[in-house]
Symmetry: C2
Subunit: 219 residues, 2 copies
């Protein structure tokens, strides 16, 4: 697949262009650390934005569709979407209100999402999605039967037209504000996994697996 070396007119960052990242590898690192996206689509001129899980596999995003039926009624013929993934890394406290910011990494993908309908391809797409979100889980689970597979919706979105944006590091204040006597710096924010909670109906002798115990999005 062609590797775009320049953004399209639609994905070129208009503001804060210094935060732009058009490099495919950098965008993929962001997509691989995240697993929740916000899917935007249009129905009768009205935008909708729905959160859902996804997995990246090569140059495609597989998007879990069960939570967004308005979207999915239209997805067989191809649906124009914007899929955005945002990782929040911290609050940036400057001396001036104006220079307050956030540290974050985000990717915006524009394109046409299509439902994956072939059963074999759909099962494989679900496996890849599952492995993206929780590696190791698929083989330990009771796999989907035919009825469940039909009731599940997976979309594929080619990652062709995209941009990423990254802000990191300390605040940047106007030179004359550095004398202003207030604390400045960063409050780091991170999504962390807590101790696994056993299902109340867990069978005796089922130990917490390593992929659960050590769950982390760090890549």
């Amino acid at each position: 697949m062609a590797q775009p070396s320049a953004p399209s007119a639609r994905t070129r960052l208009v503001r804060e262009a210094d935060r732009a990242v058009y490099d495919r590898d950098a965008a993929y690192r962001i997509l691989d650390e995240g697993f929740i996206c916000h899917v935007g689509f249009v129905v009768d001129g009205q935008p909708f934005v729905i959160p859902t899980g996804y997995g990246r596999v090569g140059d495609n995003l597989y998007i879990h569709g069960s939570a967004a039926s308005r979207m999915l009624r239209r997805v067989d013929e191809g649906l124009a979407v914007c899929v955005t993934v945002t990782l929040l890394d911290g609050l940036v406290l400057a001396r001036s209100i104006f220079n307050h910011s956030m540290n974050y990494r985000s990717v915006v993908i524009l394109g046409t999402a299509r439902a994956v309908n072939d059963p074999t391809e759909k099962l494989e797409a679900l496996r890849l999605l599952s492995e993206h979100i929780l590696p190791g889980r698929w083989v330990e689970s009771r796999l989907p039967n035919e009825k469940e597979l039909k009731a599940t919706l997976v979309m594929r979105l080619p990652i062709e037209e995209f941009s990423a944006k990254v802000r990191q590091g300390p605040p940047v204040d106007d030179e004359e504000d550095y004398a202003f006597s207030t604390w400045a710096g960063v409050i780091p924010l991170e999504m962390v996994a807590g101790n696994p909670i056993n299902d109340p109906r867990l069978n005796l002798g089922c130990a917490v697996p390593t992929y659960v115990e050590k769950y982390s999005r760090k890549r």
Copy 2:
């Protein structure tokens, strides 16, 4: 303001209606814990989804606009948006792949966002937005001057047409799957604040304030 007791046709949940929350107080608790939203809007038929900060004040959402210029070119005359706030609480591991889920709380608001242009109202909107994200910070900062105020964009979105969705608790498996011998339960996920990082150019003697040291989104 009227308190809608029923969802509109556009915000009624079509799937998983048991997870629907149309109660305004419940939606506000979610909006108050979060501070990042995904704003969806349409340009030439193409949806865009942009992450940005927000603050809730009464029955309005104030949305920081600086990161989304495509949106803001159109916002003086009123822009049709969908604003979605998602709080992720955990991965839900069932015995069957099909019943895997996530614990989350989300709010979707449809409406028309308008730029706040009056300087006095804009300054107050910024203060409220700042207080939502980091209470206590505003009075310790160098406040915006006229030029900065002009360069900042704030939108107001009335919270009128909205819905919320909540999934919590353990996995729910098909009855016959409870005998399937795999670990099941929840991996809790939480956005936590780490130790504050001093700005390398911090003035000597500036101690970390309490609102930074104790930062938490728990409400």
